[in-house]
Amino acid sequence: MSVYESIGGAAAVDAAVDIFYRKVLSDDRISHFFDDVDMDGMRAKQKSFLTMAFGGPNEYTGKDMREAHKHMNLTEEHFTAVAEALVGTLNELEVPQEHIDEIVNIAVSVKDDVLNV
């Protein structure tokens, strides 16, 4: 069973998205990237992000990830902030540590593409 399935699939994404979004918007290091005035549109993208980070079904390639983040000039600090928000969310939802570790691994595996290095 994948992590995505073990933590509850789409329902886990639904439970996580508002918590994660709120964390991101309150973090001065990264909130400006997510300041999109269309909060509903941004929330849909957060769901895509979480689904992918949880190892769920998605059709993004490494090239897509490069494209999606290309114009943001992201740095190590930004990546860390997003990772912290992600881990904080999972802790709040009392996801077992072994699953959190696996999710962090997935995030790290796309880091180079996201940072466009």
């Binding site: 918007l25 309150s26 909060m39």
Partner: protein, 329 residues
């Protein structure tokens, strides 16, 4: 460069080349085709068209019903094609019906209450597109409640140069007919909300959908606490004040707050406070956890409040908003 093949009742297959970043609506208008439109922001659905090919950007179908999507309907103002598309003026123009004006009443110096024939069923708080003529249309929210009232009610604020609102105020007569399309939108009350605390906030004619939502909730026996916060520049911009105060006296779970930016010494202001509306709301409801939220009125207010409510603990699915987007020229 992307092209579209366009067919209408009058014109058979014509090709229109779109410029970089141009929507289907803009391209067709530029080429001289007579396409109806309203908000140009994917809200009013005036510009609905049909596409017979499969390659449509999903953005162009946002807000449409599953059945409409399946039939290939899309909103031309929200469609930036990446491949050639075959499009036609939608058959669904039949959805536009004609309704008689039953009553015109002034609720204050610049808000008109328009009541028209109840030509379809709806949920209070949804909105309709009203047509002045074949090409000019605007969205207005429903303030009436279908279980008790046999008409559709709108509150229309007069704008000095307003193409629609000025016409509605000055020229439209009781007994005339008007084109109506709808209802649309997800800003309405449902049974699952029955015991949640409700928070309703609006400025100006943002009261219109809230008046519908509020009375719908009360009629259905809502038993959670309700806060209705209304904002305006001055005391005389408020309307339906006596009706709202009467509701407040009748229903103990309801609290109505009138918040003016500036009060004059001469104002009879027993029930009106002078405050910054965002600060005031923060005082009344510091924590939005579990609140069911409705936000209506000017776009800037709705966007700002949505974010503030969310950050103060409301869940996004519990926030319904109707932003009165101005028509883009």
């Amino acid at each position: 460069m992307v092209a579209i093949n366009f067919t209408s009742e009058q014109e058979a297959n014509q090709q229109v080349e779109l410029e970089q970043g141009e929507t289907v609506l803009d391209g067709l208008l530029r080429a001289g085709h007579d396409i109806p439109y309203g908000c140009r922001a994917g809200v009013c659905q005036s510009c609905i068209m049909q596409c017979s090919s499969k390659n449509m950007p999903s953005q162009a179908q946002q807000g449409l019903k599953p059945a409409q999507k399946e039939l290939g309907y899309f909103l031309a103002c929200n469609c930036l094609p990446s491949e050639i598309m075959d499009v036609s003026t939608a058959v669904s123009k039949s959805e536009k019906v004609s309704a008689k004006i039953l009553e015109k009443t002034y609720l204050n110096n610049n808000v008109l209450r328009l009541r028209i024939d109840k030509v379809f069923d709806y949920k209070p708080g949804q909105f309709c597109t009203l047509w002045k003529n074949k090409t000019v249309s605007r969205c207005y929210s429903l303030a009436s409640i279908p279980q008790k009232e046999n008409f559709l009610e709108f509150h229309i604020k007069k704008l000095d140069k307003g193409q629609f609102s000025k016409w509605a105020h000055n020229d439209l007569q009781v007994g005339d007919s008007i084109g109506v399309q709808g209802p649309l939108g997800e800003c309405f009350y449902s049974y699952t909300d029955i015991s949640k605390p409700l928070f309703l906030a609006g400025i100006g004619t943002g009261l219109s959908p809230l008046y519908g939502v509020l009375r719908d909730a009360l009629e259905r026996g809502h038993n959670g606490n309700i806060n209705l916060v209304l904002g305006a520049k001055n005391a005389d911009d408020f309307y339906l004040v006596d009706d709202l105060l009467a509701l407040e006296r009748r229903y103990i779970q309801l609290n109505v707050h009138f918040v003016a930016q500036t009060l004059l010494k001469s104002d009879d202001n027993k029930h009106i406070v002078e405050a910054d509306i965002y600060e005031y709301i923060h005082q009344v409801v510091p924590d939005f956890k579990n609140q069911r939220v409705f936000l209506c009125g000017a776009d800037s207010f709705v966007k700002k409040m949505k974010r503030r409510c969310f950050m103060a603990g409301a869940n996004m699915p519990d926030i319904s908003a109707d932003a009165f987007l101005a028509f883009n020229q």
